[in-house]
């Protein structure tokens, strides 16, 4: 199976290092970062690309662009792992539309296109008889989309609750453990590399809201978008509030909830008993699905990280290979 990879940030490098290390029967025929690209229908030397990227900041030649690879490259699956743009979804949205229209499968870790145009992209994939998979967009390594689409097939999903953002969870864990103020805990998260220079999307709950939109569309195909989410972040929480929660043997976590029967699509800091299964520590994610047959199922795991997110991308790639491309 031949794949083209767009984006060489943390996720892209994770995917390439795993493909270089493990013999998964996947041939990479195109790679592009934001400034350069490389194409070889016979298969690219992945170790050499990683070395070149580390040394020069570029993966290939400046005259080969990502859009050339998407339009003209020889591949079965496009792996789209560029950074999320929540306003336009670009350039990922155009790349994904182009690949699907060419009858190519798409695997992405990019929340923007899905949160903005879920219905359209799924329809485009269906019309072209290909898969559009996005396990890596929600909860990193946790196979929540597989669980919803396949593992729990036939169940009626009543609700999904979860801790979907590792940055916020780290900040809240540190505030509760050490009595740090929000600003102190955020500064620490930055030093540890858990928070970005501009943490707005994480701490205001926007990242969690995007994931909720993707989950809601996956389950109920209801076409909700970011604007439908009632969103409150953690940036106004005080150290005293966590101490007060502690006095009740509880703590505070940023929870995303989707409960269609109560018309609820909400991100907000919530009080939870410390023994609650969603009270996970540090950068972990946790998500509970409540269904009619299976009851409640909770999964806990790493929500971010290069190889952890690559695990989700590789899982999607092998799913497509096993279901559709094998024998080509």
């Amino acid at each position: 199976m031949k794949v083209a990879i767009l984006g060489l940030g943390s996720v892209g490098r994770g995917v390439i290092s795993v493909l270089a290390r493990k013999d998964l029967g996947i041939v990479v025929t195109g790679i592009a970062d934001s400034r350069s690209g490389v194409m070889d229908p016979a298969g690219i030397d992945l170790a050499a690309v990683l070395t070149r990227k580390a040394e020069t900041g570029r993966c290939g030649e400046p005259d080969i662009l990502g859009e050339d690879i998407v339009k003209n490259g020889d591949y079965d699956v496009l792996v789209e792992v560029t950074p999320t743009d929540i306003v336009t979804g670009e350039p990922a949205l155009t790349s994904i539309r182009t690949a699907l229209s060419r009858g190519k499968h798409v695997v992405t870790s990019n929340k923007g296109p899905l949160a903005l145009q879920y219905t359209e992209l799924m329809r485009l994939a269906e019309e072209n008889g290909v898969h559009m998979r996005y396990e890596a967009t929600v909860c990193g390594a946790i196979p929540i989309i597989q669980t919803l689409q396949h593992g729990l097939a036939g169940n009626k999903v009543h609700a999904v609750y979860g801790v979907l953002n590792g940055t916020c969870n780290y900040i809240l864990t540190r505030m509760a453990d050490e009595g740090l103020t929000y600003d102190q805990a955020l500064a620490e998260a930055r030093e540890m590399g858990y928070a970005e220079a501009d943490p707005t999307s994480d701490v205001k709950g926007i990242d969690t809201a995007l994931k909720l939109v993707i989950l809601a569309n996956t389950i109920w195909k209801n076409g909700v978008t970011l604007g439908d989410v009632d969103c409150t972040g953690i940036d106004l929480l005080t150290a005293e509030a966590l101490t007060l929660a502690e006095s009740q043997n509880c703590t505070i976590r940023l929870i995303g909830e989707v409960v269609p029967e109560r018309d609820l699509l909400r991100v907000s800091p919530c009080i939870l008993p410390k023994k609650h299964p969603l009270v996970v520590r540090d950068t972990l994610n946790a998500v509970t699905v409540v269904t009619d047959m299976a009851g409640a199922i909770t999964q806990v795991g790493k929500g971010a990280g290069s190889v952890e997110t690559a695990s989700a991308v590789i899982g999607d790639l092998l799913f497509i290979r096993d279901c559709h491309v094998r024998g080509d």
């Binding site: 009543h158 609700a159 106004l236 007060l244 929660a245 009740q248 029967e261 919530c270 009080i271």
Partner: protein, 163 residues
């Protein structure tokens, strides 16, 4: 409730009958004999579970059968929920915030812990609210949400697993 019944055969059963007729569930009956009481009466403690809206009917029915109710309704507020409010709580009149819940008649703030780290800094408070039932609690929370919005306070609620 604590009731007074006549000390005569069949009187205790007769006084309990209206409870089951009203749809109530008798949890315990404690029948005490007290020599200091007026003759021919007995005091009986009845612990029962009955929806709010049927209490008045039960009182009428018992009274009409000659049973005197000495005391009742200690546990009228059955549900409790603790929330945390963050913001300029004093400057936005915390007693008004509490009053908005208390004035409903079916819910009240029964406990409050507040920390004020410094002048002009935001304070945090843990409020425990009692209400007569789930629907009333939800109404009380709605009131609190709208007060929080109006006064620009952050309201942190317990996660409610509804299903």
């Amino acid at each position: 409730m604590k009731i007074e019944v006549k000390d005569a055969p069949g009187q205790l059963v007769a006084s309990l009958k209206p409870i089951s007729e009203a749809g109530g569930n008798v949890i315990a009956v404690i029948h005490e004999w007290d020599p200091t009481l007026r003759p021919k009466t007995r005091i009986v403690h009845v612990v029962l579970d009955l929806p709010d809206d049927r209490i008045d009917g039960l009182v009428e029915s018992l009274t009409s059968k000659g049973v005197s109710i000495l005391r009742m309704g200690e546990e009228r507020l059955l549900m409790k929920r603790s929330v945390i409010m963050i913001g300029h709580l004093m400057h936005t009149d915390i007693s008004d915030t509490v009053d908005r819940i208390d004035c409903t008649g079916f819910a009240e703030v029964v406990e409050m812990h507040m920390t004020m780290p410094g002048i002009a800094q935001r304070s945090s408070a843990l409020l425990t609210i009692s209400a007569t039932n789930r629907a009333h609690m939800e109404t009380a929370m709605e009131i609190l949400r709208s007060v929080a919005k109006q006064k620009e306070l952050l309201l942190v609620e317990p996660m409610e697993e509804s299903i």
